[in-house]
């Protein structure tokens, strides 16, 4: 969907700059005019750019943004895999996380610089897509941290009381046992390749 408000604001900003261009001579001759020039040529464009950048950062966290590169489209399809054990499919299909930001919700770290790291990794993805080439096997930059799972599951009753979880809870919290050592299927590519997909209504 087009960011209509942002587009209108940018068009208005360009129109104001055009007016200032035309009236530069008369505006620069008066004190009030100089203030108008200062706001119009410096304040307004910077404000618009900040708003635009903020919108872009928000937009870059959305699922459709991640899947706009063809390399990720199989991963996108795996959200619909007909497999009740596959983590990505379970979380997406049961709305355990916001569907609009599911890639970002699970793949960004939740520490102080989690967002920054995720965005920098995004730049690496773009570099790989356009310049360096995409590796044959798409893999994480580091082992998937339990803290990303625990960000949501941490003290949830279903997690803490889970019969399989209880014996290993402290190891899971300490990160010495990976959640993925039991939950082995994350993106079920076999189901994707077989076309066994769940159809949302």
């Amino acid at each position: 969907m087009l960011p209509v408000q942002l587009i209108v604001a940018l068009v208005a900003g360009i129109a104001i700059l055009a007016l200032l261009f035309a009236g530069a001579r008369s505006l620069s001759a008066h004190t009030v005019g100089r203030v108008v020039l200062l706001v119009g040529l410096l304040g307004l464009p910077l404000l618009l750019s900040a708003g635009n950048f903020s919108f872009g950062v928000h937009e870059s966290s959305t699922t459709h943004f991640c899947l706009s590169c063809h390399e990720m489209q199989r991963h996108g399809k795996s959200l619909f895999a007909d497999n009740r054990q596959a983590l990505a499919a379970v979380h997406y299909q049961n709305r355990l996380v916001d569907r609009e930001t599911i890639c970002y919700s699970c793949h960004k770290d939740y520490a102080l610089f989690g967002d920054v790291t995720a965005k920098l990794n995004g730049l690496r993805h773009v570099w790989a897509h356009y310049v360096a080439g995409v590796p044959e096997k798409i893999a994480l930059y580091k082992p998937y941290p339990n803290s990303n799972c625990l960000h949501c599951h941490d003290d949830s009753r279903r997690f803490v009381d889970g019969v399989a979880h209880r014996p290993v809870l402290s190891a899971l919290y300490a990160g010495t046992t990976s959640c993925l050592s039991c939950h082995r299927t994350v993106h079920d590519m076999a189901k994707v390749d077989a076309g066994e997909l769940w159809q949302a209504r």
């Binding site: 261009f21 620069s28 040529l41 410096l42 618009l48 870059s60 706009s68 897509h129």
Partner: protein, 72 residues
């Protein structure tokens, strides 16, 4: 340098700043019509710096004009 020359020079520089800043906004507007990873980067790496450059050109023009008039 007489007052008219000085005023013309300032006007020209302000217009140049407006054009550069406007170009930056146009780049950002083009990106806003179709957000993809590459348009986002173009918007942030080309559009925003052009806007900043426009601002700097404007401030530099005002500063030089004030200096020429002995106001600073």
């Amino acid at each position: 340098m007489n007052m008219t020359d000085s005023s013309d020079k300032l006007t020209r520089k302000i217009r140049r700043a407006a054009v550069v800043g406007g170009l930056g906004l146009v780049v950002q507007l083009a990106a806003a019509f179709h957000w993809t990873p590459v348009t986002f980067i173009l918007s942030a790496v080309v559009g925003a710096p052009l806007v900043m450059l426009g601002g700097v050109l404007f401030l530099a023009a005002v500063w030089r004009n004030m200096r020429d008039k002995g106001a600073v």
